[in-house]
Amino acid sequence: MLLLAPPLLAFGFVYLASLVALFISSFWTVNPFTTEIERIWNIDNYRTIWESGAYRSIALRTIGIAAAVTLTDAVLAFPLGYFMARIASGRSRTFLFVAVLLPLWSSYLIRVYIWRLILNEDGVLNWTLGKVGLPHIHIAYTNWAVWIVFSYVWLPFMILPVFGALERVPHSLIEASRDLGAGGFQTFRRVVLPLALPGVIAGSIFTFSLTLGDYVTPLLAGGHPGTQFIGNVVYSSVGISNNVPFAAAFASIPLVVMAVYLLIARRLGAFEAM
């Protein structure tokens, strides 16, 4: 109990209190000239977000790309996780583990900048396409680039819980399924997949929330018109125009989205798989 007190206090005061402060300040406003915060109660910030098509599409883009990244990572992680958990021998499993985790040892920024070098006009990708006689593609700084970079940097966070869930599927259940006459595909679909699904959902909590809250990748790998994320608007509202109340109002959107997502994830049993 005594050991639990410090983290609980930190959680209560630092985290929950700051969320409350965030919510309260979203109903304030700023002086347009000096950009000082004025404590006048109003809902103008929420009205601006609701009425402006641009802010709505930024919010929808953020949620959409977060969902696309989650789906991409799930599709990529499942076969790899399956191979690592059920097929690979001890040695190759260790090797794969290192391979999955190794990128996490380098800075996140380095990995984003490397993707910039790959995707830009004279980059590795176009150089390779040119060598094999294909036309250049122009995806640098677009939402495609943002999607690719996000899918890459968050992939390990999907692989690990998927691997964990697949490893916990008892071999006896698979044998029982076979004994009862199910084929390989049917066993996979009706036994392995349902048992591994909480792992996928657990991984998706990471990939979805990490993408939802990020602003560095859209800033560095994006930058083309129409590539801002909620985080970028929050960043420029605080860091550029010092409009903390508006930033607080916009930051409430991912909060609500994540709350709904976590409720669904809990119903699907993801918390038992973490």
Binding site: P32, F33, T35, Y55, E121, G223, G239
Partner: protein, 382 residues
Amino acid sequence: MIRIKRAHVLLAALAAALCVPAAGISAGNGLPTTIGKGEGQLNLVAWEGYTQPQWVKPFTKATGCKVNAKYAGSSDEMVTLMRSGGGSQYDMVSASGDASLRLIYGKDVQPVNVNLIPDWKNFIPALKSPPHNTIGGQHYGVSLQWGPNTLLYNTTKVKPAPASWGAIYSAKYKGKITVPDNPIQIADAALYLSKHSPSLGIKDPYELNQKQFDAAVNLLKKQKPLIKKYWALASDEIDLFKNGDAVIGATWPYQTNTLIADKVPVKDLIPSEGATGWADTWMLSAKAKHPNCSYMWLKWISTPKVQAQQAIYFGETPANPKACPIMNKLSPGSAAQYHCGASAAYFRSIKFWKTPVADCGNGQKNCMDYTQWQQAWTQLKG
């Protein structure tokens, strides 16, 4: 009772004594009259390229003040940084004209005694007490450098060479154009419109009524599908030109110099419409923890040699014309290239950044203020 009161008075007197700036004996107007001993540290908010080892190392050697610099990507970021941590985190900021008034009216900076800066007397007249850093005879900082925002292009890919800002609004270089990710970019569109749509009656690109503002934003909306990337950092734009992602765009001379040094075939110019520009001021935070080192820095950065070094490194014009001959010594022809000691007429031809406010200066208060500029910019980028 009386004793308690005395204690209160004593406490108040003590507090008042502590509030006197550490930079020497206070004069009648509260400004320091001498520069005291250095505090050993100096925390600066600066533009990228403003605190190069070339002139920072000798400063530290001479004064013992260790310089910690934080680069800011935009004027807005500078204002925010100066307010962060209650305003005492940074001692000084190299604010441009679109930030300086906000800092003064926000009480984030304090007046300085220019008599402690010997080189201030040598500055060009227009920068001794310019309206962006001097209010009612009070100097809120010391002018530093100034220059235009130029049009940058790749000489092998862009032919013929552009002569008008129209090049960044035309579909000819679609997908190869880059402009700063900065609300003040609306003024560049307004400057272009002031020459090409005279019926709008734009006189000052920073004082726009609703109709003029909408026209400028519309021009930028038309430009949007042509943009490769809105650059946020100077190094972003350098990358774009190096890797062939952009061939033309709006820039500061700093990027041009860096790209030329890296042997990228680029050139920049001031197009026929003229240009927006910046005039920077080193300002002292109202809660500076190291005021003596700050005054030493003001003195140091105003000397002809340092002014010349910075002017050549960044590609801008020194406030101190005594730097011109030194510029030529460091890099022949550079004084003329950067209009060192320029005429008042040239200075006036550049529309220097200033904070857009509702009060247009014509007695009417129907201009678009900066919050509206910023929101229009965020929505424009999408």
